[in-house]
Each structure stands twice: as structure tokens, then as C-alpha cells.
């Protein structure tokens, strides 16, 4: 471990702040429980049905597309730091890599997966 003690300390302090705040609020805050207060907020009407509804599949699609391009960008990081040494050869390599992904990108564009209907 190099200089990570700093990050660990920061994480520790950052985790302690919410805990301290919860504890303090627990002792200071008033408590008047009330069945009406505990009901779900829905603009005043009684909530019809479950809140955890089935979500549209497009959210899943967004997450998968994000994952693919995220992996792509992670592979671009080593290319960027070694850009000078890789020279033209590296640009061609990354060009092929990007071309294939751009092909996929235009495919999903044409398929309308990027439209939010």
C-alpha cells in the first residue's frame, strides 16, 4: 500500500459523519408516531397498487448499452496513456476496435434503441 492511508482515513471520516448525524438526530429529534404519517405519500389519495411496479425494458437496454461502451472506454485508457509510444500502429489498432463498435452503435441507432418512446 502506498499513499492509500489517506483515502482510507478519508473514507473512515466520511463514513463517521452520517453515523454521528444519525445518532445525534436520534437523541434530539422529537418522535410522534402516527398511522397517517406512516402512509405512503401520493398527493393525498390512497395509494392504488404496489409502488414497485414492473419497469419498462428500455431501462435494462440503457444499462446494457452503457456496459458495452463502458468496457470500451476502459480499454481506451491504456491506449491513451501509451499514445506516443504506440504511434501510427496504435491509431490503426484502435481504429479497427472503434470501427466495430461504431458499427454496433449505428445498428442500435437504426433499430431505434436510442429513442425513448
Amino acid at each position: 500500500m502506498r499513499a492509500y492511508a489517506a483515502i482510507l482515513l478519508l473514507a473512515l471520516v466520511a463514513a463517521c459523519i452520517p453515523v454521528a448525524v444519525w445518532t445525534l438526530a436520534y437523541f434530539v429529534a422529537p418522535k410522534f408516531p402516527n398511522p397517517t404519517k406512516a402512509t405512503n405519500y401520493e398527493c393525498g389519495i390512497t395509494s392504488p397498487g404496489e409502488a414497485r411496479e414492473k419497469f419498462h425494458v428500455r431501462y435494462y437496454l440503457i444499462a446494457v448499452m452503457f456496459l458495452v461502451f463502458d468496457v470500451e472506454s476502459v480499454f481506451l485508457f491504456p491506449f491513451a496513456v501509451q499514445f506516443k509510444e504506440l504511434a501510427l500502429f496504435g491509431i490503426i489498432e484502435i481504429g479497427i476496435f472503434l470501427f466495430l463498435l461504431l458499427f454496433g452503435y449505428f445498428y442500435i441507432w437504426k433499430k431505434g434503441a436510442l429513442n425513448w418512446e
Binding site: A5, A6, L10, P18, N40, Y41, E42, V81
Partner: protein, 362 residues
Amino acid sequence: MDSFARLLHLSPPLAWMALKLLIVIGGVMGIAAVLTWVERRGAAMMQDRIGPNRAGVKGITLLGLVQLAADGIKFFLKEDVVPPHGNRLLFTLAPALAFVPAMLGFAVIPFGQSFSSGGQAYHLSLLDPGNGMGMLYPLAIGSMAVYGILVASWSSNNKWAILGGMRSGANMVSYELGMSLAVISIFMAAGNSPVGSPVTLEAYDPHRIVEAQEGLWFAVRQPLGFLVFFTCMFAETNRLPFDFAEGESEIVAGFHTEYSSMKFALLQLSEYIHIVTASALLVTLYLGGWRIPFVPNPGVLLSVAAFLAKLLFLCWVFVWVRWTIPRFRYDQLMFLGWKVMLPLSMANLLLQAWLMHGRGIA
């Protein structure tokens, strides 16, 4: 300066680290707290109102700054309602899940020029340069920000909350791509500039990125990348025009509809901390970090002041934009993220690679 140096020699490295830790935590949380006041006063100014000006101690209101203390006390003294129909454990945990990554993000940002005292180099960033993570670290931590919102929304078991959480989850994820592709072109440019410091630094080390902006800021060299990154930062922090986590005109208060008391305050505070971190990232990557134009070696105090000035200005821009530009529609947001920002950042990457190759660098 001399007494300052002597003070540093007295301290073991651990004390120096603790000092930096104090500066980072205090600075970030302090700016974030003041930012809530700036937001309210700024909004009032733009809407031709007065804004908070009544809270005060014996008539001293400090332009309404005392309101901050009043708000803080009030948050503690409010009842903490935990919805029994949700998930109590996750409902309590979610503010911490939002708060901790927000605090961690600042750790690698250099907020002033490095200096040496008594043969030892002191770097003004919590993590010293050469740590191997560099600017990738705030990106990685930034991608954790989505969990606070998703968990908060799911555990509330409220329709508005879940809608807001899902929307902002998809939103943050979409704009992360444009952001990381824009940053990659910065790494390429930074790796090609000569390094002044003796340490062999990775091209993505923030100290090297600041070093590389000695001549021209990256905002000037890569205006397209700057534009993309700047826009993506608004989506990542869930600020207007992209604040679909809240969207009060459609889904009440979004993911924190059921939150009250200090838990709400923590969620709110982490949003403002995200703004501070996003501004710091923008300053470091595109606006020259602590550098002042035409001053090659500003020294410790001036460089910290320059960094702070840029940071505060960008924080103000976040507030300014919020009260100037109306909210997008959700399909427009997806259009902008996937069909504008992603191709633009990719074009920026290829353009920069081609330009650098043309200049004979690669």
C-alpha cells in the same frame, strides 16, 4: 514562509496527511454548505426577490448566512419519519451511500502548487502524485454516486421515488460515457507534453495534467471535449437542466419524497458536494488547475487562491444554469446523451488523435 516551513518540519508525515485531510473535508463541506446559501440568494437575485435575510443573532444576519445555522438546527429538531412500508435498513443506509462517495471524490485533486521545504516535497492533494490511480479515481468514485439515489428510491417504496430513481439512474449512466471518452482525449494530450516534475507520472495523473496545461489550458486546446464534459457534469450531479431525480413539477420530490430530517439533509448535502467535486474536476482537467495565465510559478498561496477562485466561479455557474435553463423532457435528455454527447466525444477523441499524429507527436 519561513515559519511555515519550520512548522512543517516539526510534523511527521502523518500530521501532514491529517492536515490535508482536514483541509479537504472542511473545505469541501464548507463550500457545499455555503453553496446552499448561494443557491437561495442567487435564485432570489435572478427572480428579483430578496431571499433569506431574516434569520440572525441579535440582528446580525450576515446577508442571510445565519440562515445556514438555522437550517442546520432545524434539520436536527425535525421528526425523522421512516416509512414502515419500505425497507428500513436500506432507507437509513441510503444517505450514507450517497454521502461517502461524494466525499471521496476530491482526494486526488491538486488544489495548489507543490512546494518543497527542507529537502522534502509537499504536494497539495490528499493523495500524492504517482499513486497509479490518478484521474481515473474520481471517475470510478463518480460512478458509485448512482447507488445512493437508486437505493434511496427503492427503499422508500413510493411511486414518485422509484420513478425518480430509475430515471436518474438511466440518466447518470448515459452521460458517464461521454464524460469518460472526453477525459480519454485529455489523457492523450497530457501524455504527449513534457513533464517538469522528476517523478515519472502516468499521463492520467492530475499533477501531470495540470503540468501539461502550462502553455494553454485544455479548454482552449479541446473546446469540443470541454463542452461535452461540462454538459455531462450537470447530468452526473443531477442538476437542472437534467434533474430527473427530483423533477418537482412531475414527480413531487423524486427519490427523496419520503425523506425527512437529517437524512434529507445528508442527501441534499451530498448533492452540493457533488457540485464542488464536479467543479474541481472541470478546473483540473480543463481550466489549468491552480495555474494563473502568464505566471509560471505562482507559489503556494497564490496558486491555492487561483484554484479556489476558479472552483467557486464554476460552482456559481452550476447555480446560474439551474435558474436560467428550463428542464429537458426525458426523451430529449436521452437524445442528447446518446445521439449528441456520445458521438461528439468520440469525434473529439479521433480528431485529437489525428491532430496529434499530424503534428508528428505519434
